[in-house]
Amino acid sequence: MSGSEVVIVGGGVTGLSAGWWLARSGVKVTVLDKFIVGWEASGRNGGGASHYASPLFDEEQRLWPQMDELLGYPTEHQKGRILIAMTERQWEQYRFIAERHKRLNHPVELLDVKQVQEAVPLAGDNCFGGVHYKFGGHANPQRSVQAYAWALQDLGGKIIQHSPVTGFETAGGKVTAVKTANATYGCDSVVVAAGPQIPQLMAQLGVNVPLAAARAEMIITEPAPMMPLGGVDGHKIYGRQTMRGNLAYGGGPHEWLDMDATGPAARPSTPLARNLAKRLAELLPKAAHLNVIRSWAGVIENSPDGRPIIDRLTSPDNVVVASMSSVGFGLSPASGHAIRDLVMDGKCSFADIDILKLSRFDNLESDWREKRGWMPIT
């Protein structure tokens, strides 16, 4: 289908990666975004790239070390992660996870306190030990999103910002065009990767996509001296040391929100920054003197089972829907590949992703959000 048009709704990391993969295959791609690329969750997350629970994991691991070269722009990808236990219970849990990795042939090593401190000098001797993942890693979300966008443009793809999608034109069981307030974009295929706005958009096509949006928060400190291993998780927080040295961390309770067709009205952070600061000061006690210089929040969507939805619909049959269900950034090199395969070949070439089909929710009860307590506070 080289030379035909694919319109991608949503310039987040998933849509941009899909567009880049399609452009690499010679497809003419247009990405439409309501504001600026990567402005929502894609540019606001912890940058982790170690999603061993996903069928896309192997492809994620294969691709990240090559991404700077493939894209032509820096992503700040760094390899490896460590999980540091701060309580007896966490140490038990993390060793359980390590055992799982061993069984799945993911290279991991248990570290004692001294070894933890060698890898992570900001750690204290108050920890119980660590699990070193010799796989996975992290990258700079904002830089990576822009790298996808630029790489896509370098291959002839178009990015139209400040253009919220308002609807679709359909004919003969296919979407024939995507509409914004100012223009109509004819297309052979559509990828809907619009994050929390997916349900409202897909409802226009008569397709129910069960997703719920929530707000989560992060903090960042001033730079610390660079540590041998910067991908440090544990103590129920996640994050990384940036290549500049800052410690960027998130985790903790989320707040479920109403879904708005036009996207989040605001992304306010809250005093939860204090609780993130507490845990980070406990995880890395030698960093406790570092200044926190920003906090922020992002709005992310989850599917009912927390797993992504990547599916090519049967009707209309030229639409691929993609929600990464709050684990999108790290998996983006692989999710884009999978979406490219679904658009062009109807089938993922490198993994069995049937578990990510939308049809798994066909019999979902209508009150699934209420049942889970995933409701906005009233």
Partner: protein, 487 residues
């Protein structure tokens, strides 16, 4: 995996936050003349009033130009907190009046964030302000908050500005008057509007050698009586010129070179081009604000429970267009300085890298990266400072963009050939002052919050390896990692 839902998500924030430590009818942030007056008025009206002021800030923060652009020109006296506190009380007799009126006064206490329910958040127990002193942070609730946070110095980049001795007018005034802790002897003032003239006269009065004022326009800009006083004081006026560079040594500035080529010996260059209303708290709380060129920049619009007084509400409108004046300075300074002039001191971003939208030096710049620039980015849409800062890191440092955010916006406007007002205001984020992790931390957080804490959403099916689905391992996984959830 059979999941039995309970209708409650135990990992959601709902109801787990700590209650504020106290509740006040009115919290006033900033104990300058306007803030103290507002606090006294509120107390006299029978309200419970808390008045906080971040000063004296620690020597370390002053070294990072927080909250004002001190340029490293404070004496060792500023390290002595007791002396600093005394200096504040001595310089502000109204503080005693406020306390007599029943105002609760906390000095050395920073208001680092204001939070309220609204779009995107409904979980706060009430509207609160985050406070911190040298020991800890805490939150208090309020009915009304009055922001009296004053103005902060506009800094301007020129070769050599990133060394001790280049400072702002508000910082110099504070060191001269309140603290009597200015470490310089010979000052060159940049600018000639009221702020510059008043600062020059104040310095002169305090026995400082004021070696001149530099004005980019053809004639001095401020009120004529101030100009007359400056001339009468024998202070030189260098009009139609800009500063081209500053030279210095281990102790910072030693001389300034003007665009005319004249070299002027001085140990301090006081940038007095303008004050910016300090609206960090308003912006970080998503409060309404609007650009007002005659009042110094973005100012709060004012809301039912959030108001502003003093310079924070906008400089006195004298009809002078501060934005046009600053833009003229920025154009002039840019025209006489090399592209490798540092714009963001914290992250060492040059003007060339800012306009080139290039990444920091610790990253490689392959050919496609080098081909990118603000010009190519503008093809995608209007310039947005938040996007630029993420790519270049300008404004991402420990001074929280105090020294460069306004310059970045001006440079973007100039490069994009758009009016300054079309460039969005770069986001301010809490904490609006740098706060150590150990101070910001809520050490005595509620047990309910800890119980709700998960590293991510706490969805049991989210992290089970795909290989383990529908095997006994998935239940083991759930048992080990998701105790108590969805059972």
């Amino acid at each position: 995996m059979e999941l039995n839902f309970t209708g409650t998500d135990i990992c959601a924030i709902n109801g787990t936050r700590s209650a504020p430590e106290a509740h006040y009818n009115t919290v006033v942030v900033g104990a300058g003349p306007s803030g103290v007056a507002a606090a006294i008025d509120a107390a006299n009206a029978g309200l419970r009033v808390l008045l906080v002021d971040e000063n004296p800030v620690s020597g370390a923060l002053m070294g990072n130009d927080v909250p004002l652009y001190f340029g490293g020109r404070m004496t060792a006296a500023t390290q002595n907190t007791e002396r600093m506190l005394e200096a504040i009380f001595m310089s502000m007799p109204a503080l005693e009046t406020a306390m007599d009126a029943g105002v609760e006064l906390l000095l050395g206490t920073t208001a680092w964030g204001v939070y309220r329910n609204g779009p995107g958040v409904a979980s706060l127990p009430e509207q609160v302000v985050g406070l911190a002193d040298a020991e800890r942070s805490w939150i208090v609730g309020f009915d009304n908050i009055i922001l009296a946070t004053g103005g902060r110095d506009l800094s301007m980049a020129f070769p050599g500005w990133n060394q001790p001795g280049v400072m702002g007018a508000a910082a110099l005034q504070m060191l001269l008057t309140r603290y009597e802790a200015f470490a310089g002897r010979r000052v060159l003032v940049i600018g000639s509007h009221d702020l510059a003239l008043e600062t020059a006269l104040l310095a002169k009065k305090r026995g400082i050698d004021v070696v001149g004022l530099v004005e980019v326009r053809a004639a001095p800009q401020g009120r004529s009586e101030l100009i007359t006083k400056v001339e009468a004081a024998g202070i030189a006026l260098y009009c139609g010129q800009t500063i081209a560079s500053a030279k210095g040594g281990i102790n910072g500035v030693e001389s300034a070179t003007l665009s005319s080529g004249a070299e002027i010996a001085c140990d301090t260059i006081c940038v007095a081009i303008g004050l910016i209303p300090s609206i960090e708290l308003v912006d970080a709380m998503h409060g309404e604000r609007a650009l007002n060129a005659q009042r110094g920049g973005y100012i709060p619009k004012g809301e039912a429970t959030v108001s502003a007084v003093g310079d924070c509400a906008g400089l006195t409108d004298t009809g002078f267009d501060h934005i046009a004046y600053r833009m003229e300075w920025m154009r002039a300074l840019s025209s006489v300085s090399a592209d490798d002039t540092i714009i963001c001191q914290c992250e060492e971003v040059t003007r060339a890298d800012l306009i080139g939208v290039q990444p920091p030096n610790y990253l490689t710049r392959p050919a496609p990266m080098c081909a990118r620039s603000l010009e190519t980015l503008l093809d995608d849409g209007p310039a947005n400072p938040d996007q630029i800062k993420r790519l270049t890191r300008a404004g991402m440092g420990v001074c929280q963009g105090r020294r460069c955010r306004d310059q970045v916006a001006m440079l973007l406007a100039i490069e994009a050939d758009k009016p300054f007002g079309t460039i969005p205001l770069a986001s301010h984020r809490a904490p609006v002052r740098p706060l150590p992790l150990k101070i910001l931390a809520e050490w005595d957080e509620p047990a309910a919050l800890d119980a709700a804490w998960d590293v991510w959403f706490g969805i049991p099916t989210q992290w089970v390896p795909v290989e383990d689905l529908n095997t006994p391992y998935q239940d083991e996984h759930r048992e080990m990692l998701y105790t108590g959830m969805y059972k």
